[in-house]
């Protein structure tokens, strides 16, 4: 049986199951009750978590990723993030690849709930598969992916069941460099430098001061590392293991994990209470 493609129905928008597609699923709503049987929602078209009881909205994220930074430079665009996903205040998954390749010209990264990001990635894989089946050599452009994700996020927000993510989409296609972000309530914008999460407070001031669109790759990388270090020093849910992905006209590349150097040898840290008992 050919699986029904339900994740982006043109009538009611992407990311929701339209009425009439799956009778067994619809039957559970017949009595105005929430569905009683649990259906796995690994992006196979049923986005709502189905549990016995009144229908609940997404309340809070569980496994979360933190900051993502992105900036354009002379040859293209780069995104950086760490490889940590926290479960509350535990640093649980330390080797998560939080940057994903969408197609040969686009990369995407996230903050927020990891499972919602996996769902989004499966939606994008469906898009990519469609493109592949068309077999005409054309792929979706980064701004088209961005536009699609805006609709997904906004639709889910309107259903009061948001995908708990802020996404950063970047890519280069047809000579145009693109860097855009979509938030969990559907807010979206494009800019020369972006951050999602804590990086908005720590990294964007540094970008605003030092970033220019025609930076060389080394300068952009150095600025990115400075911003990552600033975020790392002040964000408790971050770890010193980063990946940088860059997209240029020639292709895209996601780097191996690396560390940024940290300096703890300040004189004032050596004996902070020497003259001030009670301070630290």
């Amino acid at each position: 049986m050919i699986p029904t493609r339900v994740s982006h129905n043109p009538i009611i928008g992407p990311g929701v199951v339209p009425f009439g597609v799956d009778p067994a699923y619809d039957a559970q709503y017949k009595l105005n009750q929430a569905p009683r049987s649990h259906v796995a929602s690994h992006g196979q078209g049923k986005p709502f978590t189905v549990e016995p009881g009144p229908h609940q909205r997404t309340q809070y994220p569980y496994v979360t990723g933190t900051t993502v930074l992105g900036c354009k430079y002379k040859d293209g665009v780069m995104i950086a993030c760490d490889t940590l996903c926290c479960y509350g205040s535990t640093k649980r998954y330390k080797s998560v690849e939080r940057i994903k390749k969408v197609n040969s010209s686009t990369i995407i990264s996230f903050t927020g709930e990891l499972s919602d990001f996996h769902y989004i990635v499966s939606l994008l894989e469906e898009l990519d598969t469609t493109d592949y089946c068309e077999d005409d050599g054309s792929e979706l452009a980064p701004w088209e992916i961005h536009s699609y994700l805006c609709r997904v996020m906004y639709n889910r927000r309107n259903k009061f069941d948001p995908l708990w993510n802020s996404l950063v989409v970047a890519g280069v296609k047809h000579g145009r460099t693109f860097l855009g972000t979509v938030g969990m309530i559907g807010q979206h914008y494009e800019d020369s430098h972006l951050a999602a999460g804590f990086g908005n407070h720590m990294a964007r001031p540094l970008f605003r001061e030092k970033h220019t669109d025609d930076m060389s790759e080394e300068d952009a990388r150095k600025l990115m590392e400075d911003c990552l270090r600033a975020c790392l020093m002040r964000d408790k849910t971050m770890m010193n293991k980063f990946q940088i992905a860059k997209v240029t006209a020639g292709g895209l590349e996601i780097s191996e994990p690396f560390q940024v150097p940290m300096n703890w040898g300040y004189e004032k840290f050596k004996d902070p209470t020497k003259h001030a008992v009670g301070a630290w």
Partner: protein, 298 residues
């Protein structure tokens, strides 16, 4: 010392209220009764600020923005947030403006008396301890977040103090709503043993980061450079927010622009003032006031 009601002085010694020490919770029951009766305690107003400090080789540099906010309005476009504590100690204040001014003024006075009593220059840790114990005593209700810096016999010191009374001894410190933006600049570019010029530059950059990236901070950059032999209070060191458009013709309204509907004023003379309010007017007799240019009446 309070005597027992029976007048039996030889019974147990009851110390005065002030001598008992510890915390005084007498008002807790009263406050609860008042909130139950509908009184809502007003939350302390935050000013929105970026204040920073950095240690360099031989001194400290303190910096602050100059915007004071009252809710979403800018109350004072060019206020002074770097307060004098002692000739060699200055303190930047964030949080509730009244609290920072009162607390720094109080500690400055206390330190002056202390200097007179000990005949020595004040030490930064003295100011720190006085500030901390005061803020702790008020359990965070005194909303003063401070960056305290100075140079004393033991060298340059920089401390940050939080409203609940904790302090940190740091090479660089930021407080206020713009602290994250300013801290980003320090985390990226701070070096040990900077020169005075480098230190001034990085502090000015951090305040500018707060001004341009935080809504609660704005207007100008104030700096204060403290070294062993001098203090430079650089008021309005940078003005990156100059008013760009000023009407070239000026704002001079000809007499009669505002229509005068009714005049009702009294000249202050001995005949019109109540007896107990007659004062000697030194600058100009009442007649001069009436005929002067104070009000155009035609």
């Amino acid at each position: 010392m309070a005597l027992l009601a029976s007048g039996n002085v030889s019974a147990a010694y009851i110390p005065d209220r002030d001598e008992r020490g510890g915390f005084n919770f007498d008002n807790v029951a009263r406050n609860e009764m008042m909130s139950q009766n509908g009184l809502k305690f007003k939350a302390a107003m935050k000013t929105g600020t970026t204040i920073t400090g950095v240690c360099f080789k031989g001194g400290v540099v303190l910096g602050a923005d100059t915007r004071s906010t009252n809710g979403e309005t800018v109350a004072d476009k060019n206020c002074e947030k770097i307060h004098y504590i002692a000739p060699n100690i200055y303190c930047c204040g964030a949080g509730t403006a009244a609290d920072t001014e009162a607390v720094t003024g109080m500690i400055a006075s206390a330190l002056e008396l202390h200097r007179l009593a000990t005949k020595r220059k004040s030490r930064v840790v003295t100011a720190l301890t006085m500030l901390k114990s005061h803020l702790f005593k008020y359990q965070g209700h005194v909303g003063a977040a401070l960056v305290l810096g100075g140079v004393d016999i033991n060298g340059p010191h920089l401390f940050s103090v939080h409203p609940h009374g904790s302090s940190d001894s740091l090479p660089f410190a930021t407080m206020g709503s713009g602290s994250l933006a300013a801290m980003a600049v320090f985390e990226a570019d701070f070096k040990e043993d900077m020169t005075e010029e480098e230190a001034k530059e990085i502090v000015a950059r951090s305040i500018r980061a707060g001004i341009f990236n935080d809504l609660g901070s704005g207007s100008n950059v104030d700096l204060c450079v403290i070294t062993a032999d001098k203090v430079d209070y650089l008021r309005n060191y940078e003005c990156p927010n100059e008013r760009t458009y000023v009407r070239s013709k000026g704002y001079d309204f000809p007499p009669g622009t505002t229509v005068l509907n009714r005049r009702n004023f009294m000249t202050a003379t001995a005949a019109t003032l109540p007896v107990n309010q007659i004062v000697d007017i030194i600058d100009g007799a009442p007649e001069d006031v009436a005929s002067g240019d104070a009000m155009q009446t035609d």
